[in-house]
């Protein structure tokens, strides 16, 4: 791509490819599964607050390379292009390129992160949702087959094992990989 058609990197790029908190941006069957699960939780009196659903790969690309140029000394001339992102990382001098990348990391609020943001996650495929769940007392909830399940154990959050089992009947899996990720649910537990 000719560089004259490209727009120089900088803070303004942070707003170009926003992430979503809407379930309609999730993919195919996973969207249906999540929407059914949320509906049944709300019917049971569980409060649902969605923090993130789909994140465009273009956003991850901007986060990843602005971070690497600003913080890891990555050469702006070597950043691979991405279809649909008409960005020019090279301002002609290293100093200007790094400054623009730093401005981007500030605007993207990743400047204090201690590692580079990954280029890919389940959110990029619309196959993950971050949500906070809470309820005040024992609730009765229907699983995907219509069986009523009484949730009478603690904690009253998304980490509740009974709720996690109900979610699985819909095809919504709590994060079960190494470490922890309290708000994260996906199609495969990752």
């Amino acid at each position: 791509m000719a560089t004259e058609n490209l727009e120089l990197s900088g803070a303004k790029w942070a707003k170009k490819f926003p992430g979503s908190t809407d379930t309609k941006d999730l993919s195919g069957n996973f969207r249906l599964a999540v929407e059914d699960f949320i509906y049944t939780m709300q019917e049971a009196g569980i409060k649902v607050k969605i923090n993130a659903t789909f994140r465009p790969s273009k956003r991850s690309y901007l986060m990843h390379y602005s971070y690497r140029i600003a913080k890891n000394g990555y050469d702006p001339k070597k950043v691979p292009s991405m279809q649909g992102v008409n960005i020019n990382w090279d301002h002609g001098s290293k100093e200007d390129s790094v400054k623009a990348a730093r401005d981007m990391t500030s605007a993207l609020d990743i400047q204090t992160l201690q590692t580079k943001p990954a280029l890919r996650s389940q959110h990029n495929s619309g196959l993950a949702i971050d949500m906070n769940l809470s309820w005040g007392k024992t609730v009765e909830i229907k699983d995907a087959s219509g069986n009523v399940v009484k949730i009478n154990t603690l904690p009253r959050t998304g980490m509740n094992k009974q709720l996690i089992a109900v979610a699985a009947t819909f095809g919504v899996k709590k994060y079960n990989g190494p470490g922890r990720d309290f708000p994260h649910w996906s199609n495969n537990g990752r």
Binding site: A52, L113, T115, S121
Partner: protein
């Protein structure tokens, strides 16, 4: 031919599972931390609520920081064990490598 391929695939899976279970505890812990770190690298986004961002940052410090410091120790400790060393290096991912205090 199909049967041979299936057998080889099962053998490969078995040997991977076997070696994972039989790694020393410090290597298993490193692999766990490195995996958690890799996941977290894909989770952070400045658009998330403040509370979630802070939690991810804390966890990055714990898991990525843990894996990075373990890597240096394990590489030296198992330098004469090529199988383990390979396993350690294979699990040392970009997200761990990029971690800085």
């Amino acid at each position: 031919m199909k049967k041979i391929c299936l057998f080889l695939l099962l053998l490969l899976n078995f040997s991977q599972a076997f070696s994972a279970e039989n790694s020393p505890p410090d290597v298993r812990k490193f692999i766990y931390n490195a995996g958690a770190c890799e996941h977290l690298g894909g989770e952070y986004d400045g658009e998330l609520p403040k509370e979630e961002k802070e939690q991810i940052k804390k966890d990055i410090e714990k898991y990525c920081g843990g894996a990075k410091s373990q890597f240096a120790v394990l590489k030296e400790k198992y330098k004469n064990n090529p199988t383990l060393l390979k396993r350690i290096k294979n699990n040392y991912n970009d997200t761990v490598d990029s971690y800085t205090k």
